[in-house]
Amino acid sequence: MTERLRAVIVDDEDLARGVLRECLAAHEDVEIVAECANGFEAVKAVTEMRPQLVFLDIQMPKLDGFEVLELIGRDLAVIFVTAYDEYALRAFEVHAVDYLLKPFSEERLAEALAHARVHLAERATIPVGPLVASARPGGRPVERIVVRDGSRVHVVPVERLDYVEAQDDYVCLHTEGKRLLKEQTMADVEAALDPGRFVRIHRSCILNVERLVRVEPFGRDSRVAILRDGTRLPVSRTGYARLNELLRG
């Protein structure tokens, strides 16, 4: 007998979870280890239960399915379950194993499970890059950034983001006096943010221009940006040019 698959169901609708639970009962090799009504519960469950398979709804409050995947998805198989067919392409871009459209048939579910087993047998690990890119539907700037801190999740609406600093392999998000670390590159963060509001003022710093009070000269050939809360950030020569361009435009 094959090893049982540990699965988590994530859907904000009670009935939708019910359908999956019932259909999965017919598959003896699948064990449901948790059911979650939202993305926060999902991140917690995945951290604690270490499932191999996640059935993930896309339209959910606060954290949508793609954001949940960005936070949890590395070495588990994800099957999206949604009524919306327009996300299918994006789902495969982020290496979802399959994409079930509500309402789905039992045959279709069996097929998706087969895909998941193949995927898990290959021990494929999803690269992190596409997951990050997925948070940017259709090239539009993101409206919020999600950060995982153990089993906790922080959701930072971009308008509350003050500035972003590079920190080794991480970025440090500064928001309302708090600091949140996220495993991501500066280039990815810069690309995800609204270029009309955020500007890369230095190799290691992206600034929300709404927080800027003034720019002062600092030493020879360099400047410093002063924020509303008094924070001082380095501004490079190209960064200063970019800042000027944004403020003038």
Partner: protein, 356 residues
């Protein structure tokens, strides 16, 4: 076809007018030739009738060279040529009629008519013909203006049809897919619930198809539709979604465009309550304010989402639709103060069958 020839009453009227002009002309020229008015008329009246038809033919000249689309030189040439020809024809016909009439016993001497003053007679014929040309151009112009107006009306009507179709499509297909999924869940867990959901969905779809085909429906029917929509959504969202509606006395009979509130209801769920972990309440309130009907739909929303994300395309559709139906007399306002997203529609309260 020539507009006068096209209808016999018009033709009769026109010929009578020709005879009247002929009579006047007879009276005017009788003295010059020393003939009695009656004798002169014997020649001039038939001539007037025949020349009347010649003038009608100027319609075809006008049709051949419409003012707007033909080169000026061509129009001028056509007018000048046909006018000269008509003047000459008038003169020749006059002389022929006079000559022929003189052969009739009792009309001897009428051949004196048209024998002299040739330039003057020619000018009269040409002028009359020129007037008929001008009149025909005016008629053509009026026709064209009417046709343009007609076309504009048709286009407007088509636009409205398209708008309605688009609006009927506003019932989100995802709403149906999600409902079907709920039914799928209920079939084994709660068969009676599944059956109830099927009938709710059936009623909602039937009513929206029926009302959607009408120009206006009573607010009571629209409110029932909205209620049915929320009954279905409540099966899906369970305790996360609450819906309350209240309509003051005397507003239920007011007429509104069908499915006007549907996009607002869908917005309130999809961009409002569904975005909140804890869910929330959607409230609908309808009241009279003077001779206006005021409908307010409000819902809880997630304050962390950007403002644009709360709106959805539904609002613009409703606004456009109000403009099509009521012009500037209807308004749609949005505000999101005190933590509630609130859409207020104000439209003329009418009870009669749809005003224009």
């Amino acid at each position: 076809m020539q507009p006068v020839l096209a209808r016999s009453p018009r033709l009769a009227l026109y010929l009578a007018a020709c005879l009247a002009v002929g009579g006047l002309l007879s009276a005017a020229i009788a003295g010059r030739s020393g003939l009695s008015v009656a004798r002169t008329a014997a020649v001039v009246l038939p001539l007037a009738l025949v020349f009347g038809f010649v003038c009608l033919s100027s319609w075809y000249v006008c049709r051949a060279t419409p003012l707007r689309t033909s080169p000026t030189a061509m129009v001028a040439g056509n007018i000048a040529g046909s006018t000269l020809f008509a003047g000459a024809l008038w003169l020749a016909l006059g002389r022929a009629f006079a000559w022929a009439a003189a052969r009739i016993p009792g009309l001897a001497g009428v051949d004196r008519l048209f024998s002299s003053d040739a330039p003057l007679l020619f000018a009269v014929g040409a002028l009359v013909y020129l007037l008929s040309l001008a009149a025909h151009y005016v008629v053509l112009g009026v026709d064209e203006a009417q046709a343009t107006e007609q076309r504009a009306l048709e286009v407007q009507l088509m636009a409205r049809e398209a708008e309605l179709k688009a609006l009927r499509a506003q019932i989100e297909p995802h709403f149906l897919f999600n409902s079907l999924n709920s039914i799928s869940a209920l079939t084994t867990a709660d068969p009676a619930g599944a059956r109830r959901m099927c009938s709710l969905l059936g009623e909602f779809l039937r009513a929206s198809l029926k009302f959607g085909a009408r120009e206006r429906i009573p607010l009571a029917d629209e409110l029932a539709l909205v209620q049915a929509f929320f009954d279905i959504e409540r099966v899906r969202f369970g305790s996360r979604l609450c819906f309350e509606q209240a309509a003051e006395d005397g507003v239920r009979e007011c007429l509104v465009p069908p499915l006007l509130l549907q996009p607002l209801a869908e917005n309130a769920v999809n961009h409002g309550v569904a975005e909140r972990l804890e869910g929330g309440t959607v409230r609908l309130h309808a009241a009279r304010a003077g001779d206006m009907l005021r409908i307010v739909m409000e819902n809880a929303f997630d304050a962390d989402r950007p403002r644009e994300a709360r709106r959805g395309v539904g609002l613009d559709n409703v606004r456009r639709r109000l403009a099509t139906h009521y012009g500037g007399r209807a308004t749609l306002g949005v505000n999101d103060e005190d933590g509630r997203f609130r859409v207020t529609i104000s439209l003329p309260a009418s009870r009669e069958a749809s005003p224009p």
